[in-house]
Symmetry: C2
Subunit: 463 residues, 2 copies
């Protein structure tokens, strides 16, 4: 029995639709039976034909009823194509990896080193004193922040740029997506092994990628030439994940390659260059090429601040900058202005530089004590690679049964780490044997002996 209530806030067609839908779902109206004619129904309920028609069309749109030409509406045989009576089970989220007690994966940081007090104080001041930050900001990022970043990158990474060349974005992945669009029609060479994520982003964004096997100095120009690519994406400061630092002659060769033809670009991902423990870091390739050189410099604050705070930036040469401004003029920036301006003050006041120094020292000590503990437990067979910088190293242990067995045995001792071959996107047969990647950034100092002992048990101990 359908009852409609006029003036109750719910439109009549909506009331009629809801009651009919309920009757169909509950089976009161059987599949295949006709609904009353529109005029009949309108007359019975004292509403307009239009009201009934709207309700019937809504039922049809939901798959609860079906119109037959010159015959009216029928209850749908399938009983609701678009909204089944029983809601389907929600798609299961990708299963999270079981939580190991000790996490040696890359990409985490030590949250205790985060300057929560200073960061929080600036954030609070801005919230109360700078309500204008609630409004939309500049598309490339707030200029004040870009000024600070330009000065910081010049001082610490030898990057040669003006604030105008900087684009701030919510992560390197977002910026790589923009770049891929600016470079439409190009082909990118990427390092193998390397960052699978960057490859996926570039390809998803329409930039086909060719894998080029690295050698002991990083991406070789011969391989790059052979790939036919006109763009290359590299991590010259600290190759991910092997830790190779590209020496100056190789850098010069790459710049010569880029200068040899128009439309060639180098995308320099300087993702964790803050953490270099032994020698003075080489300045960025971008700085070597100069502000008009064919290098796009990319860096992230994920390591130097926190992965949960999404701020990254890129430095564009003038031609790509002009293209960026044409194509992305209408885009809003993707980073919260409060976090942009908090970072801005953090750099401006010198807190960021001090924070990086403090972190570098803390991570260096951790690396050294972890390496020492591992040597004690695993003996002289152990080789550590790429430990001079970054927040992870390569750990090679001949005689421990091979990479896969090492990873399994570590997991059995509740230590999570990845084999090096997992970073090969092709030619995994060329992967150095018996080698895993161990990140130590999130490792508590107090846990170091226990982790080393666990790996000692896992891999057979010192020989």
């Amino acid at each position: 029995m359908i009852e409609l209530e006029a003036g109750g806030g719910v439109p009549l067609y909506e009331q009629l639709y809801r009651q009919l839908a309920e009757e169909i779902r509950s089976g009161q109206r059987a599949a295949g039976t006709p609904l009353p004619g529109r005029r009949t129904m309108a007359g019975e309920l004292g509403v307009s034909v239009n009201t009934v028609d709207t309700a019937y069309q809504m039922l049809a749109a939901e798959g609860l009823a079906r119109a037959r030409p010159r015959s009216g509406f029928y209850v749908q045989e399938t009983g609701g194509m678009l909204r089944p009576a029983a809601a389907p089970a929600p798609a299961p989220a990708p299963a999270p990896a079981p939580q190991a007690r000790y996490d040696l994966s890359t990409g985490s940081i030590d949250t205790e080193l985060f300057p929560a007090r200073s960061w929080g104080r600036i954030q609070k001041e801005l919230l109360y004193q700078a309500p204008e930050l609630l409004q939309r900001g500049e598309s490339q990022g707030d200029r004040a922040l870009r000024v600070q970043i330009a000065a910081h990158l010049a001082a610490y990474r030898g990057v040669a740029c003006t604030p105008e060349q900087i684009v701030v974005g919510a992560g390197i992945e977002y910026l790589l997506g923009c770049l891929a669009h600016l470079l439409a029609g190009s082909v990118a060479a990427i390092e193998n092994p390397g960052y699978a994520r960057s490859r996926v982003v570039l390809e998803n964004s329409g930039l086909p990628c060719r894998l080029v096997d690295i050698d002991g100095q990083g991406l070789p120009v011969t391989g790059l030439e052979a790939s036919g690519a006109n763009v290359c994406y590299i991590t010259p400061s600290h190759h991910f994940p092997t830790g190779v630092t590209m020496p100056a002659p190789r850098r010069a060769q790459l710049l010569q390659w880029a200068a040899a033809a128009p439309g060639r670009y180098i995308l320099e991902d300087d993702y964790d260059s803050e953490f270099r423990f032994t020698t003075r870091p080489l300045p960025s390739l971008q700085g070597m090429a100069g502000p008009q050189g064919p290098v796009v410099y990319l860096t992230t604050f994920s390591k130097s601040l926190a992965p949960g705070i999404r701020i990254a930036c890129m430095v564009l040469p003038q031609d790509l900058l002009a293209r960026y401004r044409r194509e992305f003029a209408l885009y809003s920036n993707t980073v919260s202005r409060f976090e942009q301006q908090t970072l801005c003050r953090f750099i401006e006041t010198g807190m960021f530089a001090r924070h990086i120094n403090r972190m570098r020292l803390a991570y260096k000590r951790r690396m050294e004590s972890f390496a020492a503990a591992l040597r004690r437990e695993l003996g002289p067979r152990l080789q550590l690679g790429g430990a001079h910088s970054g927040l992870h190293f390569l750990l090679t242990l001949p005689g421990a049964g091979g990479e896969a067995a090492m990873v399994r045995a570590a997991a059995a001792e509740s230590v999570q780490l990845r084999g090096l071959s997992g970073y090969y996107m092709a030619h995994a047969e060329a992967c150095p044997p018996d080698t895993v990647v161990a990140g130590y950034a999130a490792l508590r100092s107090g846990d170091i002996p226990a982790v080393a002992q666990a790996l000692g048990r896992a891999w057979g101990g010192a020989v």
Copy 2:
């Protein structure tokens, strides 16, 4: 005179390179003259040939020197191709529009309504109590936030979804870019007039767009069919910028269109549905279609919180969700986890619902008092359109000299607003005459009489 200092921290090749570069730039070494042979130079300086070679290659990479086959290196004639002696003028940033005293553009909000105290308190608590938020979060956004958003959208917008279907991102533009990739190979119909920004984002991301002229009920299905598109992007709650609310029968027709062939989708941008002042809002099209329906629901917190805080979300049907998880599995979320979790608690504690109610009331009063003031100043010729919802209305004044003259005259009185025809991406000749778009969200209550008087002076006053 070149002098190298061993063991000084700067590699020898770098020292040599810098001194030679300086000599070339200063003109001490003239263009076209040869550099000393590598062996000669190495012998003179007491360094290896390799060191000299690296320095020469670096000069060549910078365009300061040039290698001639079988002849050695020469100072480049052009004097530095890649890093000119004088840095080029930085690219000028796009000229900002001159600041008008009264800003009636759309897209701003009243910052005084922002709940800075509550927001700041939650943010501070999280910073001190939840250091785990510094680490990387879930790709689709933190689950706790997605649970809150799903409940909020169900209660306020009739959206039918599970938290698993929600993807959080740094702005609708970012999410539209992701969607365009998921819908690769499709063609999208978009409303004309409409959001130029959405069109640019979709097309930049590889989804070609066809313009479909709206009628008094929004996007017509006939036009949609004629466009050949299989996707349509619409603003059914409150068409931008005309304010048309799509009535239920038209919604039903669109859902029927979408159900009539596989691969058809409706992208429902519900950008400012919180602000509806008169009638109860129609529930979302997504809710009408059901959780498995072919509708992607998009909304932003730019209006309900602030444009400077970049949080938006989309609700994906299962098939697109499965594709999203395949294609974007490796992507990091683009929203800071602190802001995600601040919003989460803000919704969870009921503060968000109260905040929206408070804002709705404040904006309704502002709209009414602005409309009354305009009627006083501009007389009975004035027509206001689309004032029942949203944060702007259309203002039509026959006899005021036409749209362009109205915008110019307003600007001369320091009132910034845009003509309606500016939102037409084609067929601007169909634009209603004498009509401008006036946003009132950022208008201070105390300024309303002055703005109305300024427009009265600009447009000839009451007749």
